[in-house]
């Protein structure tokens, strides 16, 4: 992808969390839904990725052209840019389990 990062060593299996996690949260406007998602994401990261994550919030209302790059359809969407591979999770992140699976923090069952 676009980001020139250190060579990713992530595979499908969960890895020791040494690298920096770059997360993008796509929202539209500061709706309660968006705020909930952001709060949920922050809470999750504090719990599982403390100190090694960075969240970028992108408001598509202000930057609609950015939606195309990450193939955003659903809102809210979290895109894990780093570590590779890119992962996408949609929804308000109220459910922790698919979030853990989606971010390769836990194998799918």
């Amino acid at each position: 992808m676009k980001t020139k990062s250190v060579k990713p060593r992530a595979t499908t299996k969960p890895r020791p969390l040494a690298k920096l996690w770059q997360l993008r949260l796509y929202v539209v406007d500061s709706t309660p839904k968006s705020l909930t998602a952001l709060a949920n994401l922050k809470q999750f990261c504090e719990a599982h990725l403390k100190g090694i994550y960075r969240i970028t919030v992108i408001d598509l209302l202000k930057q609609p052209q950015l939606a195309k790059g990450d193939q955003i359809l659903a809102i809210p969407t979290v895109v894990r840019r780093l570590p590779k591979p890119v992962r996408t999770i949609i929804g308000n992140l109220s459910d922790i389990k698919p979030l853990l699976v989606g971010l390769d923090l836990r194998p799918a069952d």
Partner: protein, 588 residues
Amino acid sequence: MKIKTNGFTPGAPKTLLPKCPTGIQGLDEITGGGLPRGRPTLVCGGAGCGKTLLAAEFLVRGAVQFGEPGVLMAFEETEKELTANVASLGFDLAGLVRRKKIVIDYVHIERSEVQASGEYDLEGLFVRLGHAIDSIGAKRVVLDTLEVLFASLPNEAILRSELRRLFRWLKDKGVTAVITAERGRESLTRHGLEEYVSDCVILLDHRVNDQIATRHLRVVKYRGALHGTNEFPFLIGDEGISVLPITSLALNHEVSTERIATGIPRLDAMLGGKGFFCGSSILVTGTAGTGKTIISSNFAQAAGRRGERVLFFSFEESPNQIIRNMHSIGLRMEPLVKRGLLRFHSQRPSLCGLEMHLATMFKEIATFKPQVVIVDPITSLMELGTVSEGKGMVTRLIDYLKAGQVTTLFTSLTQGGHTLQQSEGGMSSLMDAWLLLQDFEGNGERNRVLYVLKARGMKHSNQIREFLISDHGIDVVDAYIGASGVLTGSARVAQADLEKAAVLSSQQEAAQLKRAVERKRAALERQISDLRADYETEALELRRIAEQVGTRTLLLGTERTASGILRQADAKAAVHPRGRARNRKVNS
């Protein structure tokens, strides 16, 4: 072409629903002016029936012809693929994108890469679409197979409510949208999109009949507007989609009183001396080998020689074969080809479906602009479809040609036995003139005859005429009627000889009679002259005798007087007058 029929008036009257013309040939006529403006239209159909193409053409024509920029949101194909796909139809999608007439947004979601956690909505799609629309001021939107979303996003309930919102939103935006969807097994679309798009639904279909595929289009629903409800065949040619049937639903062609010669003078004579009407449709039927192609070639050549343009559709022979064959009977066609007056179009009928053939023919006719068209034979085309399809095709072809005042000659191959086939029975009512060619078998030979079965609006011969195929084309020969009907071939020749002999013998008889009379007259004259000679002899004799008698009487008188004197007879008184008379005679 102008179309005027009850209910159909393209160009949408202003009182009705505003329409958005698609620019797709024929579709605007069926829908009465186009798709409903500012509303979504659903185009559904199975795989490979042209949904994407129809949608793409709607956008491209909108941008090019109607100055309405458009957004294509593709869920299945990438921008590159789309561009390549429609380039074959002559659409320069990439160029339109560069000139900011069209925006293509490829939406791709891989189900395996997406996890759902909690509720979501499709605001992202709205934003993208809204952004694309606003960036070029789009008036038209195409969502190509929105249903892909059902496969790539979880939670169908959310998806459904979001789609409902999307269509509402599209309406609010005032864009004319085309949404394509896969055909479902029992419903119009696999995921029931027709529930949401209720303004206009177009169903496409691709059917195979007798190994030949034909696409059909039907307007299932068009809220608030009249529309053609039939299933119309359409095809994808190299200029996009064309829905064909809409040539002229009304019978209001202009007609001509001009006549066009057939190239066979004696056939012209059978048709009131002038040939067929210009712009009429002529059917030539006959069994195999009756000379249909020759008659039509003759017609073609005659037209070409008059400087008219002739288009020859041949479904059985290649152009070179026709030219060679006709050359052998003295019809030289290649000079006409070289001068550009005659064009052949040869194709195997099974090459494609009826519709494709019809479209190709329309295109050829439109580009070549002929005055005369020959279709040899129409029957092999009609065999491609059902009887009604075939008739429909001929009707459309004739309507199209008549609208252009093109004289058309169709040949039709009939099977042996029956002269009037069912298909011809159906076709014949469409034809203005019908020439029947037939084989007469007898006396160990087959002879060709022709007759004019029908010729609308002109006096025509009722006679069955034999014709010969000679070194100089078709020769319609004199008719000889025998006891069992028209005589052909050697029987005709024999009859001709017989008649000649009869004439000869009567001539001889007359001459003989004349000679006899002559002889009689001569004999009579001889007799008359003989009689006259006799008479003259006798008359001469008579005179001679009379003279003798006179002399004798005189002598007798003189003698008597002399002897009286001698005798001193008393016959003085009696003698005196005699003497006086005699004296007077002598004196005088």
